[in-house]
Amino acid sequence: MDRWLGGALVLAALLFYFVVVPAEVVMPRFQVGGGVGGAAASPLFFPRLMAGLLGFLGVLIFLRGQSRAETLHAGEGFAFGQIQAIRVGGTAAILAVYLALLDPIGYVLLTPVALASLSLFLGFRRRLTLVIVAVAVPVTIYLGFRFGMKILLPEGLLG
């Protein structure tokens, strides 16, 4: 796995240095002197330096590459199977949908649904407790934000 990772980092570093930095760093008219000092103070300096470092580290990781099994044996990272993929992917998907619908539907209406969906998805089955918590927590947060901090959370359909 580390060999793949090292290779990917080297590719990313090259792409970053030669494509992203020239396109995404808009140079100013003002420059600090010339020579080494001027180059180091340029807004290009750190992005380029980091791209170089990333490439170097990629080579290092590639050369030290271990197999996935050895990596896990050494205590780095943790296993990622189908169950983990479903649980993490599902949670992330619920959060993504929540983010997309928060503005049109509103915090007070959407958050109880999102909280309850997440709890049910994670295996919590005590319905009454779930309903109480799913309503009480978002309402408390909403009121705390509105009256305590004067922050209006998205009102959506209730606005």
């Binding site: 760093v25 990333l54 990629g58 990781i61 992330a92 959060l95 919590f124 407790t129 779930l130 978002p138």
Partner: protein, 513 residues
């Protein structure tokens, strides 16, 4: 001076500050006690709340979380054998066996006393050390600051788990993320990819909430944890009795040694309570007349790590307050809260915000008192708190994370940032990358870049400015020595590993035969 002290005391002894210290301490303890939730995470989630409070109400709240969280991890370490935070990992070694032997009450009380003593000593270290260091720091110009930050960045290597290159990759991405937005020196727009919300850079708090809050929740979610099995607190009252005097009398050497270890390591950038608890534990075991009792329910095995980890709390704020440089992730989060309050940690804080400095010093002691009182009163409640089902707890914390991310700029984009970095944080942990180097690099990189540019402007582009100024040169030499030491220890570890493999192979071969 007395006027300012009185002014600070009047604020922090006001009901608002006292209430927030108490709330922060309770919150910190709950979060610290629940495995998977950390004090750093709680500080990240709740720091947006402090932006709407006066500085001497908001910062005490965060200090309460920090101290409560550092102690709170010992509760689950003792009652369920799983440390609530990494800072309490060593407490499991003897705390959990004590609980299994029917001495859970004694272990809990010991942990309270030990944490309180460690915390008090650490507060004293901060109060006594920060001011003189800040006076020296006032003489620093951009060149000295650049060299100091560069030296501080080498500490990131000390956060490396088993792979230094992966730690550095994480830090490199942290620097790159910090480069996004308008460069404050030249005004150049960098790496925004045409997204207007990125012109101001990535918001720090949503970034930290994502990495530490949501990222950790994704990790916990993937583990499928239900109810935790908690050891009962009932037991023989005589076997569960312990007093402050006993700890300070019978175990004074362990207390003193562990305090020195915690405060000394805490004041060094990069080394936090996660390390100090183990060093204090190991030293206590080495100095003990009965090292064989360690790991089997020895009371000193609870005292040492608990004094050692709480002794970090105050000391870790020395580099933050004196230089404005966070030494670890907790103080990095705190730095964000300071800045949002309009306070710029560093030597000037001791000149321009003396009331706030006095207030913070007084608060540290009040937070220690709050921690002690709440811990003493709540011993029996923890069995119930630890039984909150994961399926209910994590969704609630997730919603708090998202609301906290929104609160900074009233922006859904920030909520998206938090979710995105939650996924990034999870993926990094899964692939064996440390998250902390990314956060520290994200904080330090702009300071480094700014001081570099300012130094070169002062010298008209001449880089020799860094070697002609003695303090800057000293820190550059220290940086070089620090890097050389990391390389040497890395090479030594690889040589040892290489030597072990043939032995293991030989052993395996002989077993097969």
């Amino acid at each position: 001076m007395l006027d300012q002290l009185a002014q600070a005391a009047a604020t922090v002894f006001g009901w608002q500050a006292l209430a927030m210290i108490l709330v922060g301490t309770i919150l910190g303890m709950v979060v610290g006690a629940l495995p998977g939730l950390t004090a750093t995470m709680a500080m990240a989630i709740f720091s947006p709340l402090t932006f709407f409070m006066p500085p001497l109400v908001g910062i005490p709240f965060l200090l309460g979380i920090y101290k409560g969280g550092t102690y709170g991890g010992s509760i689950s370490a003792i009652l369920i054998g799983t440390p609530g935070t990494a800072s309490n990992a060593a407490t499991v070694m003897d705390g959990f066996p004590m609980a299994q032997q029917g001495r859970a009450g004694k272990a809990m009380q010991t942990s309270i006393y030990a944490s309180t003593i460690g915390d008090l000593i650490s507060n004293l270290v901060l109060v006594l050390a920060a001011w003189p260091i800040a006076v020296i720091a006032l003489k620093f110009g951009p060149a000295e600051l650049f060299a100091l930050i560069l030296f501080s960045m080498t500490i990131i290597a000390s956060l490396a788990g088993r792979s230094l290159p992966k730690c550095l990759v994480s830090a490199t991405f942290g620097v790159l993320l910090a480069m996004i937005g308008i460069d404050t020196i030249s005004g150049a727009s960098r790496l925004t990819f045409g997204v207007s919300e990125l012109q101001g850079g990535i918001s720090y708090i949503p970034f930290v909430i994502g990495l530490f809050g949501l990222g950790e929740i994704f990790v916990q979610v993937s583990k499928r944890t239900g109810h935790l099995t908690v050891v009962d607190l009932k037991g023989d009252p005589a076997a569960n009795r312990v007093t402050f005097r006993e700890i300070l009398g019978k175990y004074k050497l362990t207390v003193l040694r562990s305090s020195l270890i915690g405060s000394g390591l805490g004041a060094l950038p990069g080394i936090g309570a996660e390390t100090s608890c183990w060093v204090a534990y190991a030293m206590a075991r080495r100095a003990s007349r009965h090292p064989e009792r360690f790991g089997k329910g020895e009371i000193e095995g609870v005292i040492a790590p608990e004094v050692g980890n709480n002794a970090v709390c105050g000391a870790s704020m020395v580099p933050l307050l004196a230089f404005g440089i966070p030494g670890d992730v907790v103080t990095a989060v705190m730095l964000g809260a300071f800045i949002a309050q309009g306070l710029r940690p560093g030597p000037l804080l001791f000149k321009e915000n003396i009331v706030e400095i006095y207030g913070i010093f007084i608060t540290l002691f009040l937070a220690t008192l709050a921690m002690f009182v709440v811990a003493k009163l709540s011993v029996r409640l923890w069995v119930r708190v630890l039984q909150v089902p994961a399926g209910l707890l994590y969704p609630v914390v997730t919603m708090l994370c998202l609301a906290g991310a929104y609160a900074i700029n009233n922006s859904l984009f920030d909520v998206g940032i938090a979710i995105a970095f939650g996924v990034v944080g999870y993926t990094m942990r899964m692939a064996g990358f440390e998250v902390a180097p990314m956060v520290l690099a994200f904080i330090l990189a702009p300071m480094l870049e700014q001081s570099l540019a300012q130094s070169l402007m002062m010298s008209h582009g001449n880089p020799l400015i860094f070697v002609t100024r003695p303090i800057a040169l000293l820190f550059l030499v220290l940086t070089a020595v620090s890097i050389a030491l990391y390389i040497r220890s890395g090479l030594r570890a690889r040589l040892l590993q290489a030597a072990e493999v043939p032995v293991a192979e030989r052993h395996g071969a002989s077993e097969r035969q």
